[in-house]
């Protein structure tokens, strides 16, 4: 056929047809994604301070230091301590988030009067910007005038100075984060719940399965695809926690809530160690990438996709 003979011509023409549609997005991809990614790799190999002009010629001769930044970060104690803090956040945050969002999904899946109102109420924290949310929590957790400690006092409990205590600062941030995020993941799990075929439950009831058994044997297994999605997304986001830390504790007290992105921001835009910050951000990427790969390869062992 003629198709083969004209193939180069035809593909040129196809490209011409598609390009007006692709142009805005591809320009965006090149300028705001690919170019920064390449530049970021290059900057991470320099000791650039953000002030000298980033010129094409001569820049690398003056500033190239190879893998020095990475070596420095990995051999210093700070990176591991900050990674530990981030890990501590995740260990507290993920289980609590899962339980709360499962609870919300379950409560919203029932039909009763006012369920629509609750759906909005649970979602309001998600709509709130982190700055507002963190300011609110700083005030709510204020040691003397905050509402939490005053409620605790009614029960005769003397609450700690949440955000000023090395011991309680991170759990406070976890609390605020779960409060803010549970509505979002709750709605995702809710759509998973509503996708489960009601016939399964009927069949199980006829077989005499109790509520617990139905939950463990039907709901949970059939919900695993949604749970998997929630786990992957929430873990990626958890590694990148930042604004809540910035407003609630600014990394304090005594560095107890310093986390990865907080360090990247401060090295880059407070101390102007751009090269160091860029290297830090690539290490964060490697960690996130590794964990996501791990989750993806482990999913076969526990996620049930419909038969």
């Amino acid at each position: 056929m003629t198709r083969k003979k004209n193939a180069p011509l035809r593909s040129m023409r196809d490209l011409m047809r598609a390009s007006p549609f692709l142009l805005p997005s591809v320009v965006g991809l090149a300028v705001f994604s690919l170019m920064p990614i390449v530049l970021s790799l290059l900057i991470s190999l320099t000791d650039w301070n953000g002030l000298d002009k980033l010129a094409v010629s001569g820049f690398f001769a003056d500033h190239f230091i190879g893998l020095q930044n990475y070596k420095e970060i990995l051999s210093g104690g700070e990176f591991w301590r900050v990674l530990g803090n981030t890990g501590y956040f995740i260990v507290l945050y993920l289980p609590l988030l899962l339980i709360c969002s499962l609870g919300i999904a379950w409560l919203l899946s029932k039909s009763y009067r006012g369920v629509g109102v609750f759906r909005v109420l649970y979602y309001i924290p998600v709509l709130t910007s982190w700055i507002a949310g963190a300011l609110i929590f700083r005030w709510v957790l204020s040691s003397k005038f905050g509402i939490v400690n005053n409620i605790l006092e009614i029960f005769g409990i003397q609450g700690p100075a949440w955000l000023q205590s090395e011991q309680w600062a991170m759990p406070s941030i976890v609390l605020a984060s779960v409060w803010k995020d549970m509505g979002f993941y709750g709605l995702i799990l809710l759509s998973g719940l509503q996708g489960i075929d009601k016939n399964y439950y009927e069949a199980a009831s006829i077989d005499g399965a109790g509520a617990w058994k139905r939950f463990w044997r039907i709901t949970l297994p059939l919900l695993t695809p949604s749970l998997f999605f929630v786990l992957v997304v929430s873990l990626i986001n958890a590694f990148q926690l930042f604004p809540q830390v910035m407003i609630m504790t600014d990394g304090g007290p005594n560095g107890a809530t310093q986390v990865m992105v907080e360090r990247i921001y401060k090295y880059g835009f407070r101390y102007y160690e751009m090269g160091y910050a860029a290297a830090f951000s690539w290490l964060l990427f490697i960690i996130i990438f590794a964990f996501t790969r791990l989750q993806l390869s482990a999913q076969k062992r526990w996620v049930h996709y419909g038969s």
């Binding site: 609870g103 909005v120 910007s129 996708g195």
Partner: protein, 262 residues
């Protein structure tokens, strides 16, 4: 019952915000604390508006979020149309590049993007926070899924009627994507509205501040005057909550697009 209890607990911080925003400065520190202000006043709100260009920040936030969302929807739906319905060379490779770019966290590109923006002379302009909307891999990805499900016959019929590709895109494809576009509209608007790190880096000019930045500055100025901070927080939340309440229908349908069976 339990639902109400949990909602109550989740709402306590908002109750405290609302209550505090109507307190005078001295009432903040009264002991025992006043659950409901004994002498409610609008002082805090007055301060937010008079001591601070809060109205301006509100305008900036609306302007930026609306432009950002519009550009995202147009640019992403056009690209998605090309990926889904036009055969062109390297389509697969390009699409994989889109997917791969989603895995790079924003922090990695933060510094070089700052450099690029300063080279383009865009720092401290609306452009610096609006232009990145041209490329939004997630939106393209979602729309490609939707557009692929439109039968080719529809497009063929349009072609036979003499419609060019642009007419087809505009009059056939876009209307059929309406639910997905509506969902994207809300999530994109929300992301832009609440974004903090990127505007923080790009906009230092007070007259360009978005609401989260204004709150951050307010926090710097009135770090202990919580009545002012809470009034500002409340004001910054109202518009997005209104948007959500009105658009909730679309939002839900978008989230559930994958999961619902009869």
């Amino acid at each position: 019952m339990i639902a109400a209890l949990i909602a109550l607990i989740a709402m306590v911080p908002f109750f405290w915000m609302l209550s505090t925003s109507f307190k005078s400065r001295s009432a903040l520190m009264s002991m025992p604390i006043e659950w409901i202000p004994s002498e409610p006043t609008l002082d805090a709100y007055k301060k937010v508006f008079t001591q601070f260009p809060f109205g301006r920040a509100m305008f900036n936030s609306v302007f930026i979020a609306v432009s950002y969302t519009l550009i995202t929807l147009v640019s992403s739906s056009m690209a998605a149309f090309a990926f889904a319905k036009i055969r062109f060379p390297f389509a697969n490779g390009l699409f994989k590049l889109y997917l791969a770019s989603m895995m790079i966290p924003t922090q990695v590109t933060l510094i070089p993007l700052f450099v690029i923006m300063s080279r383009l002379g865009l720092i401290n302009t609306y452009g610096s926070v609006i232009l990145p909307s041209l490329f939004r891999a997630f939106a393209v990805f979602l729309l490609v899924q939707t557009i692929r499900s439109i039968p080719d016959d529809f497009l063929e019929a349009a072609r036979i009627d003499g419609a060019g590709l642009f007419r087809t895109y505009w009059q056939v494809v876009l209307p059929l994507c309406a639910p997905t576009l509506a969902t994207l509209c809300i999530t994109t608007f929300m992301d832009s509205w609440n974004d903090f790190l990127w505007p923080l880096v790009m906009l230092s000019d007070r007259s360009l501040m978005t609401l989260p930045l204004a709150l951050n500055t307010l926090n710097g100025q009135y770090a202990t005057e919580y009545n002012v901070l809470m009034a500002g927080s409340l004001l910054s939340m109202l518009p997005i909550i209104l948007v959500y309440v009105f658009a909730q229908k679309y939002f839900k349908s978008g989230l559930m697009a994958g999961g619902v069976k009869g």
